[in-house]
């Protein structure tokens, strides 16, 4: 019988609760390591040849399949586990509470990618939302608490759309099957809407740049990896070739990039960068050809690797300086050069520079979009923009730009080790995409060779000339201490009006109460009816009678 790595992670998380000190740390490293070992054994055919289904149980009228192991699931499971190992090394000294939440989050993300039916998928999907919520809250600040509540509201809404869609879908098709959904109207679009909220597709994305920067430096690293990529997995599994996703994805890539350029908080820049990069994946899935889907899922793979590294490096900056605004940083190269070089490996990867991981995935997605000029244009422009904010603006303002305004030292060894590990994986995947780690895991067999002369020259030319433009206008990209309004403005303003309404209603009720009491007092003195002597029971009976009378009149 196959051993489910997600269940191992969740069980491990529960054992973490009662473990202490060294045992806690060893267990924390063992959880993702075990997961990687299970995946290697699965790839080697130890549990049977992939694809296969396992761990099925009878539930009501359905057969629930806890695990469906195929190439698509394995690709995501591998990268989740590799990233989780690096993250756990990075977060070795984090609070127990955060460790437990993070491992439940990781385990449920694995549960989503291995889910063999809609029921299992939904259970793990919701568990993932709960795990991530506690990761945000584990920062234990007022801002993280508030951001967590807003995050919960978004995900509750997403979950509600999803369960409504799944319910209607099961009623319509009579099947729990979790594969390419048939477009049969309302259920299809409800499920899509639920998934798009988790994928952070604008205008449903505001929870991401709102909540992620409020997590702890270690918590943000976990958040960067699992939620949006699980949504990408579901889109690739169930909505491949849905045309609207192509346009949404291209818009998303540009939108996220634009906000990342104007942002001045280093983790908020990276949060918008997630929106932008997930846009490439969504667009690829929308295009729907074999090479486009390969490009989308391989970009999810590399994105987890380089975005985790970027969050770790910026987290290290915040950890050592206590500052996160570009305007409050600068000149740090003198104190933390190693963090800078590790950060730059992530930055060159996301910018799709040859020999770094993003190159072998982003070029595939952009290549697949060639026939759709508008989509291609938005993706290419976003690529230039990405290099501008993550490869130039952010490092320039943090490590250079001015004399040091604050002293700092390199982060602890475990943090550096985790970043070093991920940097090495990024370079390895970028330099040897054909080796066992990426291209051999892709779900479709489509030929693509990233290292063709023209493609390599083009990929070097673009950032180099973008650098020239940056250098000429670099003063325009200095950070400030302002916030950017986004679509969450509507929610916050609506929330304010709602609170306002509740307050007014409450005031009105109080006034009404006073008037009623006054009238009752008058009645008591004028009439024979003794209100004071009337028991609560009589009051209830009279209320029900009035309500029944009202209903009767209404029905007539």
């Amino acid at each position: 019988m196959w051993v489910h790595p997600g269940l191992i992670a969740i069980t491990g998380a529960l054992i973490l609760l009662i473990s202490r000190d060294r045992v806690e740390k060893i267990l924390f490293i063992l959880i993702p390591t075990t997961s990687i070992l299970i995946l290697i054994l699965t790839s080697a055919g130890y549990f049977g040849s992939v694809p296969f289904e396992d761990l099925s149980v009878k539930f009501l009228f359905f057969r629930v399949i806890l695990a469906r192991v195929d190439r698509l699931a394995m690709l995501f499971a591998y990268v989740f586990s590799i990233a989780a190992l690096a993250m756990n090394i990075y977060a070795l000294d984090s609070r127990k509470y955060e460790k437990v939440a993070a491992m439940i989050y990781f385990g449920s993300a694995l549960g989503v990618v291995f889910a063999g039916d809609l029921f299992t998928f939904y259970v793990f999907w919701e568990l993932m939302a709960i795990g991530s919520l506690f990761v945000i809250w584990s920062n234990e600040t007022q801002k993280s608490l508030e951001a967590g509540f807003r995050y919960a509201l978004w995900h509750l809404a997403g979950g509600a759309f999803l369960i409504a869609g799944i319910g209607l879908y099961i009623i319509k098709t009579g099947s729990l099957e979790f594969s390419l959904f048939q477009n049969d109207g309302v259920p299809y679009y409800l499920i899509l809407l639920g998934v798009l909220i988790n994928a952070a597709v604008p205008p449903l994305h505001a929870w991401l740049p709102d909540a992620y920067p409020e997590a702890s430096v270690t918590g943000a690293v976990y958040l960067a990896a699992f939620t949006t990529k699980s949504a990408v997995y579901v889109l690739a599994r169930g909505f491949a070739g849905e045309e609207i996703l192509m346009y949404l994805g291209a818009f998303m890539a540009f939108y996220g990039m634009m906000y990342a350029i104007i942002e001045s908080d280093i983790r908020r820049i990276l949060a918008y960068s997630i929106v932008s990069q997930v846009g490439y994946m969504v667009a690829g899935i929308g295009i729907g050809t074999a090479i486009a889907i390969n490009g989308a899922v391989s970009h999810a793979f590399t994105h987890i690797l380089y975005k985790s590294l970027l969050f770790m490096a910026t987290g290290a900056v915040i950890y050592t300086t206590g500052k996160s605004r570009l305007g409050e940083l600068g000149g740090l190269y003198r104190y933390i050069p190693v963090t800078f070089y590790l950060y730059m490996i992530g930055a060159l990867s996301i910018s799709a520079v040859p020999l770094f991981s993003g190159f072998v995935s982003k070029t595939m997605t952009v290549y697949a979009s060639h026939e759709h000029t508008l989509v291609w244009l938005l993706l290419e422009a976003s690529s230039v923009g990405t290099f501008l904010y993550v490869g130039l603006k952010l490092p320039w303002n943090v490590w250079f730009a001015r004399d040091p305004v604050i002293e700092a030292c390199e982060p602890p060894k475990n943090m550096l080790a985790a970043m070093g590990f991920l940097a090495a994986v990024n370079v390895f995947v970028g330099a040897y995409p054909g080796y066992k780690l990426l291209y051999s895991l892709l779900p479709y067999s489509a030929e693509f060779h990233p290292y063709e002369t023209g493609r390599v020259v083009s990929a070097i030319q673009m950032p180099l000339f973008a650098f020239l433009a940056f250098w000429i206008f670099r003063d325009k990209l200095r950070g400030d201490v302002k916030i950017s309004l986004d679509t969450d403005w509507f929610l916050r303003v609506a929330g304010n009006y709602m609170l306002d309404g509740i307050q007014k209603f409450s005031d009105f009720s109080k006034r009404l109460d006073r008037n009623l009491l006054y009238t009752a007092e008058k009645l008591k003195t004028v009439g024979r009816f003794k209100i004071k002597e009337m028991s609560a029971g009589y009051g209830l009976i009279i209320s029900i009678a009035i309500f029944a009378l009202y209903l009767l009149l209404f029905l007539i």
Binding site: M258, I262, A381, S458, Q461, F473, V481, S484, L485, L499
Partner: protein, 75 residues
């Protein structure tokens, strides 16, 4: 018969012009992708445009850090 409102006519002309520009632009872009140094020019031009465009976007969406607190208090 004249148009009821001049603005309607202006909008139709502007829309027609925009579509022609978009179509031509898309076609030229599609063709020019094969030209040498296209990526270099594209990288430079897009980066310069984005930097300047971002200043416009900043004006529209940037607010003071205590914007939401003020909004809450002003309620």
């Amino acid at each position: 018969m004249d148009f009821p409102d001049d603005r309607v006519l202006k909008c139709i002309i502007a829309l027609a012009f925009l579509l022609v520009v978009l179509d031509t632009g898309t076609y030229l872009l599609h063709m020019s992708r094969e030209l040498p140094v296209f990526s270099a020019l594209f990288g430079f031009a897009v980066a310069a445009l984005l930097i300047h465009f971002s200043k416009l976007v900043e004006k529209a969406v940037k607010r003071d850090e205590d914007y939401y607190e003020k909004l809450r208090k002003g309620r």
